[in-house]
């Protein structure tokens, strides 16, 4: 729900505050992005194949973009992380343990923002506003849930919302009501991100002080495992 808008706003704001930002998102890997898009133009992409293709895309971005950026002290914003993939898998009846084990090497994000809408009807409004019509996969047409795209879309998105709601407690999503204006959602996002940054800098400060007390000549770079990934969950 306005994920890309919010990421763009957040990025500009963070950069204006002097933070380096990497933004990335599903299907944006150099390795598999194009292949996934091509595979999705046909309707022969099976559910297991789809999962693994997305996992390839994710791991490529993790290893080649996100981890190097985090190591160099960037803030990483990602438009969907592993949770959207896991939700899609679950709706398709795929064993969640299998999916979880595939993504075993993913980092736990510092925050997962879930832009939540109240009903699939609100998503329909967005589809109509986009002028592009219903997308085959976003409507879950591969699952044969309804007579047509509309029915299928409503059913599919209802199931997705249920899975996300369940994941909210399981993975500690920070829920933002996305039915509000862009301005107020963006303000909430900034506030939440600012809090994380302040915390993280406070930790850095105390670590640097501790380090300089014990080892004055230490010139080691920042810890490699400093994670500042934020997932903006799907819908």
């Amino acid at each position: 729900m306005g994920r890309s808008t919010h990421i763009a706003l957040l990025r500009t704001w963070l950069e204006s505050r002097g933070h380096a930002v990497l933004d990335t998102g599903m299907t944006r890997s150099i390795l598999a992005g194009r292949g996934i898009k091509e595979a999705k133009t046909g309707h022969t992409l099976g559910r297991l194949t789809m999962q693994l293709f997305y996992a390839t895309d994710f791991i490529d971005r993790l290893e080649n973009k996100m981890l190097p950026a985090l190591r160099s002290g960037f803030i990483v914003l990602t438009d969907r992380y592993i949770y959207s993939a896991m939700a899609r898998a679950e709706v398709r009846g795929i064993d969640s343990n299998w999916v979880r084990s595939i993504y075993g090497m993913a980092l736990v994000p510092d925050a997962i923002f879930y832009l939540r809408v109240n009903s699939p009807q609100q998503l329909v409004e967005r589809v109509l506003a986009s002028g592009k019509g219903f997308d085959y996969w976003e409507s879950g047409m591969d699952l044969h849930l309804g007579e047509d795209f509309y029915d299928s879309f409503i059913e599919y998105q209802t199931r997705m919302l249920n899975v996300f709601d369940r994941m909210t407690t399981e993975y500690g999503f920070h829920v933002l009501n996305a039915s509000r204006s862009v301005r107020s959602v963006a303000a909430d996002l900034r506030r939440a991100v600012l809090k994380l940054i302040d915390q993280s800098f406070a930790e850095d400060e105390s670590r640097t002080q501790a380090a300089s007390r014990s080892e004055p000549a230490a010139t080691s770079p920042r810890g490699p495992d400093k994670t500042r990934t934020q997932e903006v969950a799907e819908r």
Binding site: G35, L45, T49
Partner: protein, 225 residues
């Protein structure tokens, strides 16, 4: 999820495995000809041949885009597509399916590249267990000589050049194949692979294969017409 495991489909799945240069593809072709001549419906699935994934793999190999993990995952993607498309449907329909390389290839290669043994097995846990998995075992030197003498140049990932073991492709290839062979050897018991001595004559190996496979075939053949 549907975990296929030991399948109950009416068809049969036979796969061949082994290092490059072990002669497995030759043996599989001979087997195919025989089964055809005997009147069985046979279909064929080759490693790395999914129409959805092929272009991505090709481009990634050319541009050296892979890490061990993404190499593994993209090959798993290819394999998943073939499982969903070329392997399960014919097995359900009662066909014999022959596969040139199967999950054991991934287990051997990816672990040789440093992927976690359990992780790779988990990734492929959706695979159908073959009725027979042949492992053509040739000593390292024999296999390496067969490949190196037959090819003008070893390809980057084929030689394991991405791992930085050696700047010399031939030396890197030998190291890589050695690690792969070790993995195969430890899988013989783990997965009950049927080991065939690939230094024997082609005819002898083929006789061995046919004898074993006959035990899995019903006397009543499904004639095409």
């Amino acid at each position: 999820m549907i975990k296929y495991g030991n399948h109950r489909f009416p068809g049969k799945l036979f796969v061949v495995e082994g290092t490059d240069g072990s002669g497995k593809s030759t043996q599989l072709t001979l087997l195919y000809q025989w089964l055809k001549a005997e009147g069985y419906p046979v279909s064929f699935s080759e490693w790395n041949s999914s129409p959805l994934v092929k272009a991505t793999t090709k481009r990634a190999k050319k541009r050296h885009l892979f890490t061990p993990a993404t190499f593994s995952l993209l090959h798993a993607t290819d394999f998943a597509d073939r499982t969903e498309r070329d392997i399960i449907p014919p097995l359900k329909a009662g066909s014999i399916v022959l596969a040139d390389r199967y999950i054991y290839t991934a287990f051997a290669r990816d672990v040789a590249r440093g992927c976690d043994r359990d992780w790779v097995r988990d990734v492929y846990s959706f695979a159908v267990r073959p009725n027979v998995a042949f492992f053509f075992r040739a000593p390292l030197k024999v296999a390496v000589d067969r490949i190196v003498s037959g090819r003008p140049r070893l390809k980057y990932y084929e030689a394991g050049s991405d791992m930085g073991w050696s700047d010399d492709p031939e030396e890197s290839f030998t190291i890589f194949q050695g690690k792969i062979l070790d993995e195969y050897d430890r899988m013989v018991d783990e997965f009950g692979l049927t080991k065939i001595d690939a230094t024997q004559s082609i005819e002898k190996q083929q006789r061995e294969m046919r004898k074993l496979i006959s035990q899995h075939l019903s006397r009543r053949r499904f004639k095409a017409h």
